[in-house]
Symmetry: C2
Subunit: 294 residues, 2 copies
Amino acid sequence: MKWILPLLLQLISGPMHLNRSLPIGIFDSGVGGLTVYRALHEHLDNERFIYLGDTARLPYGTKSAETIQRYSLQAAAFLVSRGIKCLVIACNTASATALDALRLQYTSLPIIGVVQPGAEAGCGASASGRIAVIATESTVQGGAYQRAIKQLRADAEVTARACPLFVPLAEEGWTSGPIVEAIARRYLDDLFAARNPPDTLLLGCTHFPVLRNVLLQVVGDAVTIVDSAETTALALKKLLAIQKLEQSAGAVARVSFMATDSRERFARVAAHFLNEAMPSDAVELVEPTFAVKH
Amino acid sequence: MKWILPLLLQLISGPMHLNRSLPIGIFDSGVGGLTVYRALHEHLDNERFIYLGDTARLPYGTKSAETIQRYSLQAAAFLVSRGIKCLVIACNTASATALDALRLQYTSLPIIGVVQPGAEAGCGASASGRIAVIATESTVQGGAYQRAIKQLRADAEVTARACPLFVPLAEEGWTSGPIVEAIARRYLDDLFAARNPPDTLLLGCTHFPVLRNVLLQVVGDAVTIVDSAETTALALKKLLAIQKLEQSAGAVARVSFMATDSRERFARVAAHFLNEAMPSDAVELVEPTFAVKH
């Protein structure tokens, strides 16, 4: 297992040395986490970012907890070997499944997932306490959102539903029109046709914000749609301040994008998520075992 | 790279020893190849089969050629280490991209892909020579079907179109109804509305046969829909006979299923493809590095 190497190196070199000039590491199974990156970029003006999408093994949402944990540990080891001052798991599936394992492995690295901030956004938006969470199969089955919401608000009534087709729809760039609407209706209509329907729809997958307009049409104006991007950015900002890890004012913001497969596809799909073109040579290709390709 | 081990073992133990009592190895990125397995099972009564679905890393169709080749070589090495008398690549993406690499690696093992048999099925069914191929992004971009058809029939007019959403639809079990029809229309309507439309639709992905009824509705009765399952079974039967590798008459047919992730999900989705329930304990879980899990 090649990811052991950086861990050994880290052990040899002693406790992790974090300094404020290092970049913020962001990890996702693919491009969905770019919706989180956007929010981070907006709220953290002077920071450097290093974004890793594990496109060679996506999607994570249909995979087992054990596999998701192994992949997440490998990705984190790679980012740590590159030098980061904190890690954002910009993938709900990985956050829901691997956050504890990651924190155990990197005790001195601040690590933040998107589930807790997402749950906070959901609870903050809901008046009635009836919150619907939509996510991947794996996130829903693991129950992390349901638990996080209940912990914040014991009287909450949480309904969680897996919407697996939303991921390939977002990746394909089919983010509006009758087909997406029909699929959304099939997944959601009965949830919101209940006598006391949820007043909040929490997007528990970082792919889903690009479908927001269609979802709004389907669930109606009475429902507030929230996701974890904004609250994750605010939580990270707070964490960096507490740990005195903010970049000095006036530093130049910068981002590096890395993918484990197909720079062209990453750049093409990323454009849907960032609302701007990305040249494929802006993406660095790294092996899924996370040694740099030559 | 752990897959080197079985290769080394093979080198040490001399040329591969094939005998007719060994099983037929079948490899696919996931469950789609079960449509090919069904046809093999029907045509080869007395054979044993060992089916490996690389569910921890599916789908292959959106990944790069290099990654697909690496994954396919790892899967083949694993099946070879288990003992097989021939190998069927029951995945169009892997066949289109990795068949040459596999044959170079295993010169004494009979290996058959689904692209050549698929191209034969398409050419056999078409009167006009106008053939539409639908497949994954990677298969269409690689152009293997277009080349295989042109070699069989120089006057053929081949149109190839990627239909990436068909894969998750099939996996989700959404194989009929207005949503699937609308998606199929979006992908295919303009192809078949041409002045001289294709008379044959070749399903260049082993997931697609489960959508056959919807596709028939969309393209109309004048179009013949073919896939590679049947012709692959016939080609394999011929190959086994030539190599004198058929099982003796009266031998008991048997199959082992293996997946690199989530036995439960494999069994659940497999049921859509086999039209019969599969208990999850019928599936053996193996590591993506293809050492057996304990």
